[in-house]
């Protein structure tokens, strides 16, 4: 008898916390299965997470866990799941009136779990709760104040959110995402991708078709896409790499990095550096108040910038640089090099084609010239208030016109002069001919060295 009493006491002690914990808590399960005869599955929800999965067949199942801090309030929460002429509708309804309980207002949340047929189109709206969907067909998904996560989607997806992240992975169709104030991530998209965001980062990886990103105040990172890429961003950095299609970046007040692109690249920026490398096509950069760096460009390099340095290395085409108040450094340009700048220096090395430099208040140096492909490499260099230094390969032939004021002209190569003054020389180097060497300076020296 004493032993039985002990057992009873143990059981009561074990059960006591369970009973006590259940106080003041209302939780009820809801479940309904509906017949899907085509059309759209519409879900309208608030205050709780929504999970959507697919199951083959023609049923839409709705499961919900209704939770409330007050049973009287919780009992009034309704899940309306009905078959309609144009599909299935699921709606969560909360009592409008405020019910005062002893500890204050009632609090509530509804966890909604839905399965739909894979062929069903979905229209899902949520507020103050997350959305998690896998395997769904074409859908329109809207949320605010909650994250959106999509996986293995089949049809086109239109996603809109505010104040919550959007994360899409493994999508077979086109994806359109509009967000604000939170991050967007899209990975492995078989269709086209269109993202519009503000005040949040954008990360894109592995997209088969066209990518368009519009963002501001958030970083943009796009990688490994097969189609063309177009990015608009401001007040944050933009990074693009391993793209097969053409790239167009429009940026403001942010750094732009572009690497490994199989087609032409165009970048417009201001108040931020532009760094491009391994571009299979031409590179066009229009920058203001920022440096430009280009390396291994398999096409022409066209740069317009101000108040920043322009650098080009290994340009397998022509280079046309227009700068103001910024230096220009070009090395290894296969074709012509045309440079305009002021108040800064110009350094040209290993230029294969014609050279045309106009500078003001800055030195110009042209060295390590490769033999010209067509036998003649015209050179025209003009500057003021600084020096011109030119190294010519042995055996070069030019018709020379060099002039300066308040400076000297010095040449290591013999010049057969036609006219010779203190500040100007006209004549020929080597055999002379039609290939012109025009050097013009004001208030600075001119030096011609043998390479």
């Amino acid at each position: 008898m004493l032993r039985i009493n002990k057992v009873l006491i143990i059981l009561v002690l074990l059960a006591a916390p369970v009973v006590r914990a259940a106080e003041d808590r209302y939780e009820v399960q809801f479940g309904r299965t509906l017949n899907y005869r085509g059309g759209r599955v519409s879900v309208d929800h608030r205050f709780g997470p929504v999970t959507v999965r697919t199951e083959p067949g023609n049923n839409v199942t709705v499961r919900a866990t209704i939770r409330a801090s007050d049973p009287a309030f919780g009992q009034k929460i309704r899940i309306k799941a009905v078959e309609e002429g144009n599909g299935v509708s699921v709606r969560t309804e909360f009592p409008e009136e405020r019910i005062i309980i002893r500890s204050g207002e009632s609090s509530y949340s509804v966890d909604l779990r839905i399965t739909v047929p894979p062929q069903a189109t979905l229209r899902l709206t949520n507020r103050f709760g997350s959305i998690d969907a896998e395997g769904i067909g074409a859908s329109e998904i809207t949320n605010s104040h909650g994250s959106i996560r999509l996986r293995d989607t089949r049809g086109n997806q239109v996603v809109e959110n505010a104040f919550g992240s959007v994360d899409v992975q493994d999508a077979a169709g086109d994806i359109s995402i509009v967000n604000s104030n939170a991050s967007v991530r899209a990975v492995t998209i078989a269709g086209a991708l269109n993202i519009s965001n503000r005040f949040g980062s954008v990360s894109v990886n592995d997209v088969a078709r066209r990518v368009v990103v519009k963002n501001s105040n958030g970083t943009v990172d796009v990688r490994e896409t097969d189609g063309p890429v177009s990015i608009t961003n401001s007040f944050s950095n933009t990074k693009v790499s391993t793209i097969k299609g053409a790239v167009e970046v429009l940026s403001q007040n942010g750094r732009v990095e572009v690497a490994t692109v199989g087609a032409p690249v165009s970048v417009r920026n201001s108040f931020g550096a532009v760094d491009a490398k391994e571009i299979a096509g031409s590179l066009t950069v229009n920058n203001a108040n920022g440096n430009v760096s280009a390396k291994e460009i398999n096409g022409d390099l066209i740069v317009e910038t101000r108040f920043g340095t322009a650098r080009g290395d290994t340009i397998r085409g022509a280079a046309r640089i227009t700068n103001a108040n910024g230096a220009v450094n070009l090395t290894g340009v296969t074709k012509d090099a045309r440079v305009r700048t002021s108040f800064s220096s110009v350094f040209l090395k290993e230029i294969g084609g014609a050279i045309d430099v106009q500078n003001e208040n800055g030195a110009v140096s042209v060295t390590d010239l490769a033999p010209p492909a067509g036998g003649c490499r015209p050179i025209a260099v003009r500057t003021t208030f600084s020096s011109i230094k030119l190294e010519l390969p042995a055996g070069s032939s030019y018709t020379v016109n060099a002039s300066t004021s308040f400076g000297h002209i010095k040449s290591d190569l013999p010049i057969t002069t036609r006219s010779l003054g203190e500040e100007s020389v006209s004549g020929t180097i080597g055999r002379g001919g039609a290939c012109k060497l025009e050097l013009s300076n004001t208030n600075g020296n001119i030096t011609i060295d043998r390479d």
Binding site: V18, A22, E105, S107, G146, S234
Partner: protein, 210 residues
């Protein structure tokens, strides 16, 4: 070894062949001991003739019956003990399972609806954010009002959007105080506003240095 008359009793008590042979040898030279040995032999012969054996028909059956009875008596308590143990195990197991299941259900509930006891710490954290925001606003607001650049305009716009979002969260919290998602969202908005104000202060300082 020489045997004395005093050793005879011990040799007889030993009784082994060697002791008996030693005693006989001594008795050959000592008539007193020879008489004593003869008496010992007579007693031994008489004792052997008195030995007898018999079979009892009742002893083993009585033992066997007693064993059976003992086993029978012991069998009843063991059954009840097993039954009680099984019942106790089932009861404890069921209660534990119920407690664990209910515990996870309670945890899921807590994840969605914050307990009143935990609400206090959440509201304390919100107050701390509000205090920090108020302090930052004192520094940032003049910079926001004066600045005309696109970045500051953008920050101003962002702060307005965040204020709207904070107001929306607060309105919903008024009717749903313990909703964990709402509270978390409000804290996120507060953090974002703090971060933005810090950016404004930093950018304003940078601009003034340029």
């Amino acid at each position: 070894m020489k045997t004395e008359c005093s050793d005879l009793d011990n040799l007889l008590l030993e009784g082994d062949p060697f002791s008996m042979e030693t005693a006989t040898r001594h008795a050959g030279s000592c008539p007193e001991c020879a008489e004593k040995l003869a008496s010992w032999d007579d007693i031994s012969v008489a004792a052997k003739s008195l030995r007898t054996e018999w079979n009892s028909d009742l002893l083993w059956p009585r033992i066997e019956t007693a064993i059976h009875l003992e086993e029978k008596d012991a069998g009843h308590p063991r059954f009840w003990q097993i039954a009680a143990t099984v019942l106790l195990t089932i009861s404890v197991g069921a209660t534990t399972w119920y407690a664990v299941r209910d515990g996870s259900r309670q945890a899921a509930f807590d994840k969605e609806i914050i307990r009143v006891s935990a609400l206090e710490s959440v509201e304390r954290a919100e107050q701390a954010h509000l205090y920090a925001i108020a302090e930052l606003e004192k520094v940032a607001e003049p910079k926001l009002e004066d600045a005309q650049g696109p970045l500051m305009i953008s920050y101003r716009e962002k702060l307005m959007v965040l204020d709207d979002a904070i107001a929306e969260c607060q309105t919903n919290i008024d009717n749903n105080r313990q909703n964990a998602h709402l509270r978390k969202q409000l804290l996120t908005m507060y953090s974002e506003k703090q971060r933005t104000l810090r950016d404004v202060v930093r950018e304003g300082t940078n601009a003034s240095h340029q």
